[in-house]
Symmetry: C2
Subunit: 439 residues, 2 copies
């Protein structure tokens, strides 16, 4: 077995490790004391996959179906999945004082989607430091809001659960209607969204931000991520505000201030966090259509999010614009983007579209649901978003299996594919070249 | 004006000429003696665009709304649009004995999507020869079936109309339910499908087939088109047969032989021809979903069809497979495909997806229809297919305008974009390089 594992390539090993953790999670969630009433093996597998891939789609109501033990299993899977098992592995090596070899670095490099081996150990250290500090601060802030409302033990526990769920972009909430009851609450809106926006930028960006003192000194990747995240969130907020303004089931019944809070929240949550403060099933078709694009694009590379990744999307857009202008090289902020990055982005996008297409195809056969909720569900799973128009609970067994596969591929696929695509290639340099993480 | 036209680039001129013909067609169709009851300017514009772009979407019932004069206008627009106005222009130059200059060659080159100027005149000659001969033979064959049924004048006229409509992949039929009444009729099935399959291969392939005596000697483009067309049609036929086998509103009520005829017909018609022998609105969701992909892909370059084109699709698939294998160059039939072709294919695909996304977005706002019929309508317009789940007649004015723009862009867009993208680039040769037409 040991020799076999050594013969595996890192992608296969990563998939194996994720699978093992999901199986362990499934067994834990199937234990009698994990649930209030017995759930099926399929539902346990679905929930474990959803938690481990930080998706947040729920076949059973997280609020009522699971005991405290079950919820702890879920939040543990979220933390494991979010930070990446591989970085855990490196941490264990570090703690045990073992030398971190080339092989382990490759694994972490892949799970963090890094293109160079240098600084991997440092990255993992920073990753843990950031995560724990940010989650702790958020827990304190949320406690200020929830302890007075829910009492000490429940208030602190809810703060603990939701800060981990939010920072890892998992989207699991302990209320059946998500965070709808806090639709106009500034503290909840700000803390939760800041958590998943920071988590969604990716740890490389955070590390970069920590070590540089001006925006100009940041890496190309960080610049694209920060400007891209800001722009897409603004656009999404305006779209949702305008499209839903008169919808009586969503923004229509809210005050103007609440309308803005809700538009902001739904705009930033859709690319991968998956929390909701509006009823997704009541949104209008154009909003849903637009959200499908946001979910497909997703968050940043080396972040807790899914999707093809924001940088992949931006590289594709820039590639098309560049070629329409008849230019030969993509230039951003006085840097050119290598051709290999474009091909990688193309491959990621097309593989993702193929996966989504096939999943929708199967679901249109196996499910009774209409077309739009099916498309929404599949893209939500692929982007590890976790929003749903309400069909998750009604999925057939084949439907659940398809969504499980899509969540798994959404979390690991583009990344592992990207790794198998990574190649060194010499190119004629005009501007100095610099990598952009894609997928 | 003349100097301005000379300053236009070929793409702009092509768009201008198409626009002028559509406007003329609109005016003709708005004439009192073109219709049985008055139609709006919007409906006249829609019909003219639909005919000129050989789409076949109909806001009014072609069978009852138009007089013989109106139908002649429509079939003329189909022939003009199908063969390409630019080749007509060259023909006029030839007939008038004028020298065919570089400028005119460029225009034809573009409307035929050729990558070299050589053989353009020859191509146009062949194009006219092929078209007229094939349309005439088809008319005779269809007359054998329709003269006994409909009498001499109506029988010959219907044969004339449908042979032009089929060869140009226009999809206009003179029966409200398309060719549903001939669902099991071998002559109609074979003649009509052969017409649009031949038309959909593209004239370069036909010319190539005429001048070469073995398959091996054919150009890479012809090989890809022939094998690709054959394969995709077989797959589509099997899918439709299996998916619709038990659907009582489509295949379910037919005999086994009729089931196969209908599956074959619907499989080959969907990529761009747009005739139907089944009720599209009654097809099951998985079939519709699969057909959306077929319509997006479309027919061959330099053919009468639309879509991103079969070769573009194949190049994208090969590019992804090649990079997944870690290889550097796409190799097909001992030929490599140039990188510029891949970038062009990427650009065509992404621009097309963007256009489709935006059109769907607008229609979800302006129309009452469900999501799936809207997606189907937009992709059908983009692929100049003309199939509809039945919402064409109920479109709002904005909805009609959007579909008009998409039909126009579907016919001219990818092609004109492709031209503006065409670049010469030197590349390291392993196998000799050869072009594949994309878009
Ligand atoms: K999520
Ligand atoms: K058509």
């Amino acid at each position: 077995m040991k020799t076999k594992m050594i013969n595996m390539n890192p992608s296969q090993l990563l998939i194996l490790v994720f699978t093992i953790f999901i199986i362990i999670g499934t067994i834990f969630l199937k234990l009698p004391w994990a649930t209030t009433t017995s759930i099926s093996w399929w539902d346990a597998l679905f929930t474990a996959t959803s938690a481990m891939t930080v998706t947040g789609l729920a076949v059973v109501d997280t609020e009522t179906a699971y005991t405290l033990f079950g919820e702890i299993v879920i939040v543990s899977l979220i933390q494991l999945g979010g930070l990446g098992i591989m970085s855990f592995a490196v941490l264990i090596f570090m703690v045990l004082g073992k030398k971190i070899g080339f092989r382990e670095r490759i694994l972490v490099q892949q799970s963090m989607n890094q293109t160079s081996l240098g600084g991997v150990v440092q990255l993992v250290r920073n990753l843990f430091f950031f995560s724990l500090v940010i989650e702790f601060i958020a827990m304190v802030l949320l406690s200020l809001r929830w302890v007075p409302e829910l009492g000490w033990s429940k208030g602190i526990y809810y703060s603990f659960f939701h800060s981990i769920s939010a920072f890892n972009n998992a989207g699991f909430a302990l209320w059946s209607d998500g965070l709808s009851r806090y639709v106009g609450d500034p503290i909840i809106n700000i803390v939760i969204t800041l958590l998943f926006i920071i988590g969604g930028l990716g740890f490389t960006v955070l590390a970069d931000l920590k070590s540089k003192d001006t925006f100009r000194k940041l890496s190309l990747h960080s610049k694209i991520m920060i400007v891209g995240t800001f722009s897409i969130n603004i656009v999404a907020m305006l779209f949702i505000f305008i499209l839903e303004y008169g919808n009586p089931n969503t923004l229509g019944s809210l005050s103007l201030v609440e309308k803005w809070w809700a538009s902001y929240f739904q705009a930033v949550t859709t690319r991968t966090a998956g929390f909701n403060s509006l009823d997704i099933g009541s949104l209008s078709d154009p909003t849903i259509h637009f959200m499908i694009l946001l979910m497909f694009v997703g968050a940043g590379s080396a972040s807790t999010g899914g999707g093809i990744k924001l940088t992949t999307f931006i590289v594709i857009v820039l590639a098309v614009v560049t070629y329409l202008k008849g230019k030969k090289e993509i230039v951003v902020a006085r840097r050119t983007v290598a051709e290999t990055i474009i091909f990688r982005s193309l491959a990621i996008t097309m593989i993702s579209l193929t996966l989504i297409f096939l999943a929708i195809f199967v679901l249109t056969i196996t499910e009774e649901a209409a077309f739009l909720p099916i498309v929404f569900e599949v893209v939500s799973a692929f982007g590890t978003v976790g929003l749903s128009m309400g069909i998750t609970g009604t999925l057939s067994i084949i439907g659940k299996l398809v969504i499980i596969i899509v969540m798994f591929a959404g979390k690991l696929g583009p990344l592992t594919f990207a790794f198998s695509l990574a190649r060194q290639e010499k190119s004629k340099i005009r501007y100095p070249q610099e990598d952009v993480l894609t997928g």
